[in-house]
Symmetry: C2
């Protein structure tokens, strides 16, 4: 590995000047700067992050914590995060908090404390008090996407408002008998996002003066299969049948579309369906949805973090993420 001394020798300056020229910190004459650039280039010199971070305290690396990698929403947010960070010259170290509770504990107790990162982005994780404290104790810039966590800077979409928007779309089309596939009101209280979406749904109905039928609330696990099963229940049970379904995720909405087809209901003629997310398959299924642009969420979080790292103190670290109703073919007037 070529070291800074060789660059210094070739450029005819001291190692201090090489360091200053390459990092852009401190004053270097244009002439020296150019000679250093050329020397480094010709030798193929790259600053060792080991040595650099030990000396400076900066790593040029951001830690990203995700709860899943193999689910569309999370990997899409992550994709946005990494591309924005890499474009800015940062490496990204990934902490995948999956099922294994022991690994999860280790991430907060050890991995994140190795001084490997300058900042942390937590993607849609429900952090408990202890984990939040440990994150804060790192004394590093931290941004959470999707929360909300009152102790952290959080970029979040207003899930209640998103759900209201989806529901109001159905209401404005004349639907009154609207079912919801999503959080289980009894068991999912700890999970903010599903619950917020259910509450938004209930609020919109209440505002429209519609009394919610309890049997129109069908819990599901946010997968296509879960949405399929839930929709079959809603459509197959004797008794009142909904004319529209609001699913708390696009994947569940797609499951509902397939269930409706299998039962012989035409979408949207017999049944309107709306989802949330902006899933890549939404266009294929002509799914009406509230797009929350996960790729852009990741990019925004990265940008906010970079601003903090650059010392832009007046950058608002938290904030509301945008969303948009995309009306396609699965909803219609009743």
């Amino acid at each position: 590995m070529v070291s800074i001394d060789e660059v210094a020798k070739l450029a005819g300056v001291s190692t201090a000047t090489v360091s200053r020229a390459l990092s852009g910190r401190g004053h270097v004459s244009p002439a020296s700067r150019e000679r250093v650039r050329v020397a480094a280039e010709s030798l193929g010199y790259v600053v060792s992050s080991r040595a650099s971070s030990l000396a400076s305290g900066r790593t040029q690396n951001v830690g990203v914590i995700v709860p899943f990698l193999d689910r569309w929403f999370f990997s899409t947010v992550l994709s946005g995060v990494t591309s924005a960070l890499m474009r800015a010259g940062y490496d990204v170290t990934l902490y995948n908090i999956t099922a294994d509770a022991a690994v999860r504990r280790e991430v907060f107790a050890t991995f994140l404390r190795r001084q490997r990162v300058d900042a942390v982005i937590a993607v849609s994780i429900e952090l408990d008090e202890d984990e939040t404290s440990r994150l804060l104790a790192l004394d590093l810039p931290v941004i959470a996407i999707g929360g909300p966590n009152p102790r952290l800077h959080t970029l979040t979409v207003d899930d209640t408002a998103v759900a209201r928007l989806a529901t109001e779309h159905l209401l404005s089309l004349g639907h009154r008998d609207i079912a919801h596939i999503g959080a289980n009101p009894e068991f999912d209280l700890d999970f903010h996002i599903p619950t917020q979406r259910r509450l938004g749904f209930e609020e919109a109905l209440a505002d429209a003066g519609i009394r919610l039928k309890p049997e129109f609330l069908e819990p599901a696990d946010f997968t296509v299969d879960g949405g399929y099963r839930a929709a079959k229940q809603l459509l197959g049970r004797p008794g009142p049948r909904p004319t529209a379904i609001f699913a708390a995720s696009d994947e569940m909405a797609i499951g509902a579309i397939l269930a409706a087809r299998d039962l012989g209901f035409a979408v949207p003629e017999d049944l309107s369906i709306v989802g949330i997310d902006g899933h890549e398959l939404g266009e294929f299924f002509q799914l009406t949805t509230v797009d929350q642009a996960p790729l852009a969420q990741g990019e925004r979080a990265a940008a906010a973090l970079l601003a903090q790292l650059d010392g832009v103190t007046d950058a608002p670290a938290g904030g509301d993420l945008p969303y948009e109703l995309i009306v396609r073919g699965t909803t219609a007037r009743r």
Copy 2:
């Protein structure tokens, strides 16, 4: 941040002994080892990877290069890689080589040369000569998943054999008029996997003495939508119509299922469909497929790398990955 000196003082030993006790390298008496462990624990001491890697040359970090994050196959492999690596105490630094050619170049020219990683895993990337050379020049253990790249240790499934297996499954059910959705024979020559799958298909047909109809080869882009369009072409065109379709990926196979339904063909009564991958949605659609267990692929690659890092020199770095025909509901006798 608590440092090694504080631990040494509290344990009543030198910093060298602390280092030895914590890393497990060199001899330490059980008594000292325990005192160090307790001291470190009570102080919440974690070895600084900055300082440790500068002194030792080891980072406890593995770099992973992926071409996409937001596609199921790649994020699933990555999930397997990260969970296995994290279980072994390693961090994972992610290099997402997406569209942006400038970033891609930087990854090989700069990011990977920062001395941040002990080893590299390249997931299903078509690396050119220059990139391969740069990877090799790092002088680090490198394992590629899916390749094949003759210059790298590669874990790879035999794509031709996988395709033969899928095709032979259809042949054994009595199908003669089998179409393939996948690589474009004219344009996709540079992409190994699609092309190998097409060749396996053609070989199986040839072995069965069946002449392939050129119009039964329909190129598509490995998405659900692409599979849908391709199947519509195959089924909608006047002239001979296939009784079975072999799609080079599960996502395209799912598209084909949906296309068949829309055109009024019953699956598998009128049309058998088989895919490749082991996609999470396969079970929902009752899709017959050749499962290549991407999660296990990632885990295996990680295990192979860890063996190399542990100095197990006789560990076979390369090798063939397993696959398995999963017969579900989309294929039947004709």
